[in-house]
């Protein structure tokens, strides 16, 4: 469980986020919306420990991220799958190796890892691209590869930052379907997006809570969504 307790984040003298409290219950599904520059990406980074709150506490399994060492935060990230806004890969490694990277860095790349990887590649529809290199992938394929990499460690929480940002509607629906499937497997999912059509489409598939960042604060979105 991840708890945010009255957190604030300031950068360069200005406060980007203020007095935010939220609990991500296991198995819940959240959308995080708001205008560009509202702080959605910053908010996600605070949750997975890439940024540390300047006030308040972000507690992961009861432990304050500010009290964690760098290595503890790195280990926590193995339980939080992140699909970043700008998907980054190691361009010199094959797609399959990139997806298996979390297994590699945590020393779990032995045993049945190859079977898991093959199943995952099939699930995201990248089996035929597994021998390719990241620059050869299309936008949608990169998003699916990023999603596969985020979930290969079977994390408890999946954070996706604008996962449908640069892809067509059909591909967006496919990505959404994968995230909904993960939620049905019991994973906590949070998707940051400004795509309201995607949120409306999701509401028919999953019971989602929609949160909006506005004026540096987090609010439960109204019925207009």
């Amino acid at each position: 469980m991840i708890e945010l307790d009255k957190i604030a984040y300031s950068y360069g003298g200005g406060e980007l986020l203020s007095d935010i409290s939220l609990t991500l219950q296991p198995g819940s599904f959240h959308f995080l919306t708001g205008p560009s520059g509202a702080g959605k990406t910053t908010f996600l980074k605070l949750i997975y420990g890439e940024l540390l709150a300047t006030a308040g506490q972000v507690r992961i399994s009861g432990m304050d991220t500010r009290a964690m060492t760098r290595d503890q935060i790195a280990r926590v990230r193995r339980h939080i799958g992140v699909v970043p806004q700008q998907t980054q890969f190691l361009d010199h490694l094959r797609v399959a190796d990139n997806i298996a990277l979390p297994l590699m860095v945590s020393g779990r790349d032995g045993g049945g890892a190859q079977t898991d990887l093959d199943q995952l590649l099939g699930w995201v529809g990248l089996t035929s691209q597994k021998e390719q290199f990241p620059p050869q992938l299309s936008g949608g394929e990169r998003q699916r590869a990023a999603l596969a990499r985020a979930v290969i460690m079977s994390p408890d929480v999946i954070l996706a930052d604008e996962p449908t940002g640069n892809i067509d509607w059909e591909m967006s629906q496919r990505i959404l379907k994968l995230l909904v499937e993960l939620n049905k497997m019991g994973k906590t999912v949070m998707i940051a997006t400004h795509d309201l059509a995607l949120i409306r489409a999701a509401k028919s598939q999953v019971q989602a809570r929609v949160l909006r960042i506005t004026g540096r604060r987090l609010q439960l979105a109204g019925a207009d969504l």
Binding site: E50, R70, D71, A74, R75, V76, R77, R78, V82, P84, Q88, F89, L90, D91, H92, L93, D97, L101, P102, M104, V105, S106, D109, R149, M153
Partner: protein, 300 residues
């Protein structure tokens, strides 16, 4: 035993982990060349240090145990004073043996200056007596007084006048070569740190991806550390081998030339330059690890 296993595990490495950092051609060549050049220079500095040490030891031990008595007297007095001096020397405590050099031996000593055809028996040259000490304390001042009384033309030369500056010079030379070694080691550490920093900066995106997927600092650092350590090891091995070959090809000790032809290693002494690659690997390991961990902390 565990340390050995750890070293072996480090050298063998994790092939998967090594692949996460892309190959960096230019930095690799630069590190390899720097390590080779430094190892080449280090082998010469070591050779200089070893040779000067050997020379200083020889001068100290050989010459400290001997002295020369020189008798300058009119021709009719020379044999009498030599006889008298020999008598004094043979009864002086601390002297193992005293031997008057023959005319042939004196001629051989002068040959480098006068040539072998000069009839030195016709020249008014002093008689030399070679004295070997027995290791117990010889009172040179007392010997001088006694010789002055029995053979007024006798002068005792205990070699101190020229031996001490030579030993001091050899010691300084040895100190300088050790300083050179330290500077070479420091320069190598600095170059490897710079190369490692360049590699870390060039791979910033790789590091960000690795951090994002849960890699701890030591895992990321290890990929760089192992790479630079192995480069330094192989580069230094090439440099040290070249240096050892060059030293082995220097003119032999048998040739006339003294110190210059004595530059090099003897027997087990060759193990000293052979250890340079391992020292380089240790330097590279420490330098890269410190640089990597420092850089990773700043990337937080």
């Amino acid at each position: 035993m565990k340390a050995l296993r750890d070293i072996l595990a480090f050298l063998v490495g994790d092939p998967q982990a090594d692949r996460v950092v892309p190959p960096t051609g230019f930095t690799a060549q630069l590190t390899l060349f720097s390590a080779a050049a430094m190892a080449f220079l280090a082998s010469f500095a070591l050779a200089l240090s070893t040779s000067t040490g050997r020379l200083a030891d020889r001068w100290s031990s050989e010459l400290a145990q001997s002295l020369t008595v020189r008798i300058s007297a009119p021709e009719d007095q020379l044999a009498i004073q030599t006889q008298a001096a020999m008598g004094v020397l043979q009864t002086t405590p601390g002297i193992q043996s005293a031997r008057a050099l023959s005319i042939e031996e004196q001629a051989a000593l002068l040959a480098p200056w006068f040539g072998s055809s000069v009839p030195i028996e016709n020249l008014p040259i002093p008689q030399l007596i070679d004295v070997i000490e027995d290791g117990s304390a010889l009172n040179v001042a007392s010997l001088r007084l006694r010789l002055q009384a029995e053979a007024p033309g006798a002068i005792v030369d205990d070699h101190a006048r020229w031996r001490q500056p030579l030993i001091r010079a050899a010691g300084r030379l040895r100190g300088l070569s050790w300083l050179s070694l330290l500077l070479i080691t420091g320069t190598m550490a600095a170059m490897i740190t710079l190369a490692a920093n360049a590699a870390l900066s060039a791979n910033r995106q790789v590091i960000e991806v690795l951090r994002q997927v849960g890699a701890v600092d030591s895992y990321i650092a290890q990929a760089f550390v192992r790479r630079f350590t192995l480069r330094a090891l192989s580069g230094a091995a090439i440099g040290a081998i070249c240096g050892m070959i060059a030293i082995a090809l220097l003119p032999s000790t048998n040739a006339v030339g003294g110190f210059l032809t004595d530059l090099g290693f003897r027997g087990a002494g060759w193990l000293v330059p052979a250890s340079i690659p391992f020292l380089a690997a240790v330097v590279a390991f420490v330098a890269t690890r410190l640089a990597a961990l420092r850089t990773l902390r700043t990337m937080a």
